[in-house]
Symmetry: C2
Subunit: 279 residues, 2 copies
């Protein structure tokens, strides 16, 4: 299992840089399904099956499962994706950050228990908190860099010797920390200028980009800023706008339509950005 | 339930600033117990019962439970502490870091599902990632500041406008972010000079201090650097040196003895530091 390779193949096969985020909020899933862990599984499975043709990746957010004792359902969901939709990588959004044997335990959780192809982690504790994950050869390790929230600026925008802290993270992540080629970065769509600066620093590193849709990021500006020189490079996440496109029994069809629209919007932005660069 | 008050009472009642970290490594618990989630519960429960008289807090590390599907056992362990040893606060070491409704889900996990009195979190995403936790009135929210690992310096030691990044975190955490009085900081015992600088910035804020024992932090230097003006202020964690003091059937008695020794060492350092300051 090689995340970087799977992702490149998924971009090309689906002609899509859309990732559907699986954040099942018990208050927002259709009431007819109920509120149980099993309801959460059913909801996510139906979303997955309805949107799989449109995506380059799925990104379950672990907090939505662990808050309601749905660990077993998260295991089943990821297994369902791997079995029913082979070739679509699963990014476990966990934002873990720890060192030594504790980091190793978190990696066992993400990569062995859940079978994730990649995981998000937090760089605040430095390379010591990145290195243990790299022992799982080929798995992706995606570091928070410039997050989509306004308060992300509290620390990430601070000037550290002539560059912002997030630029330093990108420089370390793309350089000395990435000898094995497993690293990616999280960049918010809400800050396209910063996204472009990080793309200049980080070469073709895969970028996970939240913040379109509910959070207000503009798709065209995001793609223009972040498209890699190989024509891909971005995993653009949408969660709520797809999951809750319809509050009732038609949720899966509505999710498929919302995913198709978003994929097409990203496709059009990619063609425009590519044409501009070529010209 | 008020973490800050419980902690002050626990310091005074036990005359102890020792915290026992519950990091049950399946490879290191006595072989006779087995390797199952139930064995992990039994091991931790016996450690808790053997060391409760010596501690101001317990700190389970969630990764050791989630890697082996022992969530239910972690729930039972925290419930056991609260029922059998009332008044000893439980700090869930989870180092979570996320925003908005995801942060809220993590808070439900930590405070409602597990019933933790406090939790560790990562400040990289800024105040947006702290604020959702504060809605659980009285619970403690302990931010990573200057961690005990050498690689912690990769980002935390960077100069941001004349101070280190970890000093900026301490200034924000002790000031504008702490209107509700729920915040604490994580400071590694391996950097006593930095610990002293943060104590000067942060007043009497509670500090969770890992890094003595296996990681090499010196108890006397740590206490001298971090003791608060109210005579307490520190939750000094030891995990492996206590949990694995004896590899066999005597593990609980050996843990009790190791905890007593460490508590006494911290007590002596506290008396010495207090005398020096008074003089």
């Amino acid at each position: 299992m090689n995340f970087s390779l799977s992702l490149r193949q998924a971009w090309a096969r689906a002609d899509s840089m859309l990732c559907v985020g699986l954040d099942p909020d018990p208050e927002r899933i259709p009431a007819a399904l109920g509120r149980s862990p099993e309801a959460i599984f059913t909801f996510c499975r139906d979303i997955v099956d309805a949107t799989a043709a449109c995506v380059c990746a799925f990104k379950p957010q672990i907090a939505y499962f662990s808050a309601v004792r749905a660990e077993r359902e998260l295991e089943r969901l990821i297994e369902h994706i791997h079995v029913q939709h082979p070739g679509i990588p699963v990014i476990l959004d966990a934002k873990r950050g720890d060192i030594g044997s504790t980091a190793e335990r978190y990696a066992v959780e993400a990569f062995e228990r859940y079978g994730a192809d990649a995981v998000t982690i937090n760089p605040y504790m430095g390379f010591d908190s990145v290195e243990p994950w790299l022992a799982w050869e080929g798995r992706g390790v995606i570091l928070l860099c410039r997050t989509s929230n306004p308060g992300g600026s509290d620390l990430q925008a601070l000037n550290v010797g002539g560059e912002a802290l997030y630029e330093r993270v990108a420089r370390l992540a793309a350089g000395p920390w990435n000898a094995s080629g497993q690293i990616g970065l999280v960049l918010g769509a809400t800050f396209p200028a910063e996204l472009a600066r990080v793309r200049a620093i980080a070469g073709n590193l895969p970028m996970l980009v939240p913040g379109i849709g509910a959070q207000g990021g503009d798709v065209a500006a995001t793609v223009a800023a972040g498209l890699a020189d190989d024509g891909w490079g971005m995993v653009i996440n949408s969660s709520r706008a797809i999951l809750y496109a319809d509050p009732g029994a038609r949720f899966a069809q509505a999710a498929a339509q919302a995913a198709e629209r978003t994929r097409d919007e990203i496709r059009a932005a990619r063609t425009a950005a590519w044409t501009t660069r070529a010209g």
